[in-house]
Amino acid sequence: MQSNCRIAVDVGGTFTDVVLESGDRHFAAKVLTTYADPVEAVMEGLEQVMSLAGRPPGDAEIILHGTTLATNALIQRTGAVTALIATDGHRDAVEMAYENRFEQYDIDIDRPQPLTPRKLRFVVTERMNARGEVLVPLDESSVEALVPALVHGGVTSVAVGLLHAYANPVHEQRIAEILGERVPGMSVTLASEVCPEIREFERLSTACANAYVKPLMSGYLHRFASELEARGFNCPFLLMTSGGGLTDVATAARFPIRLVESGPAGGAILASRIAAERNLDRVFSFDMGGTTAKICLIDDRAPQLSRAFEVDRSYRFKKGSGLPVRIPVIEMVEIGAGGGSIALVDRLGRIRVGPESAGSEPGPACYGRGGRNATVTDADAVMGRFEERRFGGGAMTLDVPAARAAVDERVASMLDMDSMTAAFGIGEVVDENMAAAARSHAAEWGKPLAERVLVAYGGAAPQHAAQIASKLGLDEVIVPVSAGVGSAIGMLAAPVAYEVVRSRYMRLSEFDAAVIEDVNADMRAEAQDVVGSATSEPLVETRRAYMRYVGQGYEIAVTLPEATNRVEILRDAFEAAYRQLYGRIIPGLDVEVMSWTLALASGAPAFRFPGTDKDVEDALVSQQGPMYDPVRNAVVTAPRFTRETLSPGTVIDGPALIVEAQTTTVVTSTFTATIAPGGDIIMKRAEG
């Protein structure tokens, strides 16, 4: 019997990764992303893995795809000329936002520019109230009157976002009909469909973002699908969403905003699968690349989910400096520090790292391409955390003297330190930033950090993971095999899933089981529609209510039990969730529900972690080299191992380096590394 043949494609900003799972083996290709038409690189990568595996296109059972194209279009502002149609009197909500400055002490900040400029924000005469009752009927002539301006303005995509349309979408739907008749071919996004949730700024911002990328993404996805067909791939083609589930092309083309964070989501799914494989209840997923790092908490083998995300945080990755979108996302904290982040000394004599990055050209000084800035990678090079000749898979030779010169010039000389101490300082500042972000993230969600296992992937994570684990008091670190294509591998492990939201306000003092049933049925039908077309497997239903005490500003997500036919069930579920977050409840205060969500998901697919596909040679120390040990604050001589040559069961005491093509794992002196049967590196901290 022919073994399975599943393929994942992750189109990133720089590289397109393609992974083919055939039997218990994985075949991977990494090609440069082709900006003009990203499909080209994908097809090249597909060809490579098919020929590596020796399988014809007809063998492919499924193709899974994640992409940063939507995100890039939003950040680089290369989407469609987009108009907004709003309720008369409210067209500026999308720009006024929260009317605040995200940075208190900088009078020079710019507020995020909306995707729909004011001259393309039009109004129609209509008004709903919060209960969805029509206060002013839609004046259809006010819609007709917009047609010339849309045409003359070169508008190719329209977002319709009316006040309280989450409660009653008929006016938005009628506007879509009129536009369909009068401007055929116009791409139309209804806010009440993409995000039927109270809070006009966030909802309209989401609708505008969806409208902005819709023509581009829908063109790309359909081209992709037809190219696959032309090449003989007759299998289903599914898209990875930011919420960690897979969805079909039709849905992705309608709601492309749901694809924005699909790459990082793949990574979090990978970490979740590792948690499931190894039976770990509490995992700390740590992804550190060239410019940023991402942290995600994984409890009970599932990543933490949320509905709030901000695209393009343009001011030092600061909250509030980007555009909010309300979609199902895997909750992650993003830190503006990666391997390429630049270190400098501020006026107070403090070392600062990031968020400015040296990028890939010229890159860190140690790349030897003329970079003069001292980056995190340079500090790692000075501390002996790389094997010079195998750097970047042997593609380039690491220029350690250049790294040292940069660290000397930009940091050490300013602080009257030697270069090793300065490099240590840079590393410590980065690691401390990561640890602080992790603590804050955990505190924000009321989740403990202790006793988590840290899963490290992405090019820069394995160098820093042990030290960050020490700072957080974590005892175990896992560096999975193929950490460099972690996102694509994660996609292979993702379920088919779709989440729907509805805002239907309800106070528990006015509990009405029939309303809940009605909302559920409505959401279930919509989710079934999407998921049913992509899978025939049995589905698991998850429902949440977004609840708060009356008068509070923020809702909390409350996972609901199957039956919600009695008010006590909702109150108990709310109080349990509230207690977990805040430690106490408030007796006697009424509770209100702002929104409801329902998700349908298939079980996770059968998925095998790759085995080591090389013949095991002797686990030889290839090199000895000087390495700065942050625990002892001293330079020590450490052995360097080549990861591919390490057989399962090998035990390596720190300090040591384990080198592979895409990254290097630093085993500090308090850790002992063991190679697990599948090839994962498991580092455990010694007692005391």
Binding site: E95, N100, R101, R118, N129, A130, R199, A443, G446
Partner: protein
């Protein structure tokens, strides 16, 4: 021993970073757990850690600069009343006294000493705005602080870990929403406890049994950086004056900013005397907004702590409206306090002309909308009781090289609540909320725009509006030839003008209109880039008439 001292420097920096992270986490805990909406949504709170000598080592950057050094000095007041030696583990102190804490009764400050093996090692303090503290309710109409609500002198909220039930009962008995008040006091207590735990963990990680040495270095480095920056400014005294609306009569604010070597002195001699209404400002709050004004431009990247705050001294003559004496009414002290940075910036413009924005709307517009069957303006038409306090903003002043920000809070950092949420939580309809064309002060760089807001009762019932607005008679002035922003307005649609301060009734079936003020412009409007004028015109931010009149713009060129 280059390596050794280098390592010490790095360890100090890491400890500093950790302290900053701890107070941010402390603030986040309050944001999450507070009951008052203004704390949770708007960020009206503060959090900080203090050394055993009462000097502030780190403070979270939150939504309000109004607590900047108000909190720093309040901990000194706590320690004067209860010296550290008299405190035990489990003790938690509390006050909301406007003169001892942060300027009005709504702000409750909680201070908690942290002990390591029975030795005090630090104190954590936190403040948040509790929506109701009894009295007349939040607003400027009182004549004495006694009318404004309950006043808790500095005392124990917890003693040795045990709640002072009598005190809690007194608080609960004197406020309209005891659940919220109690919840917020627990929220502050819990945030300090969380900070204390994190500090002890940090001390264990760093293997230190005191943070005094680290504290001294933090304070010294910050003070040095601040003084170095001030030292680069030319010595001299720079004066600036500004008139604002006041409650029933204009208030004159006079300011002299003196640079003397590495120190800045700010003095408000010549400022108006006290008001009969609740817009008086205790000195502690004057200090906060005055030093924030300085810090926006001088040393804005130096963290707030005892060292950086020490380099700026703020004084005001005893008894003037900016150094109000008991028992002056102070509830709406923000209306005047938020105006102070504009005055300070007017002084600094004389030495740093390219770093200072024009005047802005500055004071937030936060009407209290209410209907109460017990109050005079009773609702006899079935509208039901409600109270809600939305926040709206005007424009900021034009900035060197950039237009002002439209409808954006400055100097306050609060966030607004969405129209849809305002309409769910109270029986009101906000029919219009959009930019007000031509409200930005003309200039080569344009002031930010204000907005127009139209609010009606959802069922046409009458309701009351309590106002604390400014810049209705005294618009934000431009700089260097830039024009003033448009003045604010409050009126009944198709009806009469309302006053900027105090409580009035919006009659049945009518609509309340607020026009928030625009920011001042900078530079001669005639020199504005025609492309920028055209863009404003196309966007409807500037009308055709104004483009022609203010900017001399003749259409396509």
């Amino acid at each position: 021993m280059k390596g050794k001292t280098g390592l010490d420097a790095i360890r100090t920096q890491l400890a500093w970073n950790r302290l900053l992270a701890i107070v941010e986490e402390q603030a986040q805990t309050i944001m999450r757990t507070a009951f008052s909406t203004v704390v949770r949504e708007a960020g009206d709170l503060s959090a900080g850690v203090f050394g055993t000598d009462g000097s502030m080592l780190a403070q979270a950057v939150t939504g309000t600069p109004g607590h900047v050094n108000a909190m720093a000095s309040s901990v000194g007041n706590f320690l004067a009343r209860h010296p550290l030696a008299t405190l035990r583990p489990g003790d938690v102190l509390l006050t909301n006294d406007p003169w001892l804490a942060t300027g009005h009764l709504n702000d409750f400050t909680v201070v908690t000493p942290v002990f390591r093996e029975d030795h005090p090692v630090a104190l954590f303090a936190s403040t948040s705005h509790i929506a109701d503290v009894g009295g007349r309710g939040f607003g400027p109409d009182a004549n004495q602080v006694f009318e404004e609500g309950i006043n808790i002198p500095i005392g124990h909220l917890f003693r040795g870990g045990e709640l002072n039930q009598t005190l809690m009962d007194i608080v609960r008995a004197n406020v309209r929403d005891p659940v919220v008040a109690e919840g917020d006091l627990y929220s502050l207590t819990a945030s300090n406890a969380m900070g204390g735990e994190q500090l002890l963990k940090m001390m264990a990680d760093f293997e230190i049994d005191s943070i005094d040495a680290v504290g001294e270095r933090i304070v010294a480095a910050s003070e040095q950086a601040m003084r170095k920056e001030i030292g680069a400014l030319p010595n001299g005294t720079y004066r600036h004056e500004m008139d604002v609306d006041g409650y029933d009569e204009p208030v004159h604010i006079a300011c002299a900013l003196t640079v003397e070597d590495d120190t800045i002195g700010v003095d408000f001699d010549g400022t108006s005397g006290p008001s009969r209404y609740g817009i008086n400002v205790p000195l502690t709050y004057t200090e906060a907004y005055a030093s924030f004004g300085v810090r926006c431009v001088v040393g804005n990247d130096v963290p707030n702590n005892a060292g950086s705050l020490r380099a700026v001294r703020v004084t005001a003559p005893e008894g003037c409206i900016l150094n109000a004496r008991r028992p002056a009414a102070v509830s709406a002290r923000h209306a005047l306090g938020q105006m102070l940075p504009d005055v300070i910036l007017g002084c600094l413009e004389q030495i740093l002309p390219n770093a200072v924005p024009a005047e802005g709307a500055s004071c937030i517009w936060n009407p209290v909308l209410l209907s109460s069957s017990l109050a005079g303006a009773g609702d006899n038409t079935g509208g039901g009781d409600f109270v809600t306090n939305p926040i709206f903003n005007g424009g900021t002043g034009a900035r060197p090289g950039k237009d002002g920000l439209s409808t954006t809070a400055f100097p306050s950092g609060v966030r607004t609540t969405p129209t849809e949420v305002n309409e769910v939580t109270a029986p009101i309809l906000i029919w219009r909320k959009e930019y007000l064309a031509d409200s930005g002060g003309p200039g080569e760089l344009r002031g930010g725009l204000g907005q127009v807001i139209e609010i009606a009762h959802a069922r046409g019932a009458p309701f009351e509006v309590s106002k604390m607005f400014d810049r209705i008679q005294h618009p934000a002035r431009g700089r260097r030839g830039g024009g003033s922003g448009r003045a604010g307005r409050v009126y009944i649609k198709h009806g009469k003008e309302l006053k900027g301060k105090g409580k009035e009734t919006v009659p049945a079936g009518t609509t309340l209109v607020l026009e928030t003020p625009g920011g001042g412009g900078m530079g001669d409007p005639i020199s504005r880039d025609p492309a920028a004028v055209r863009a404003d015109l196309e966007s409807g931010l500037v009308s055709e008439a104004a483009a022609k009149e203010s900017y001399g713009y003749g259409g396509a060129d």
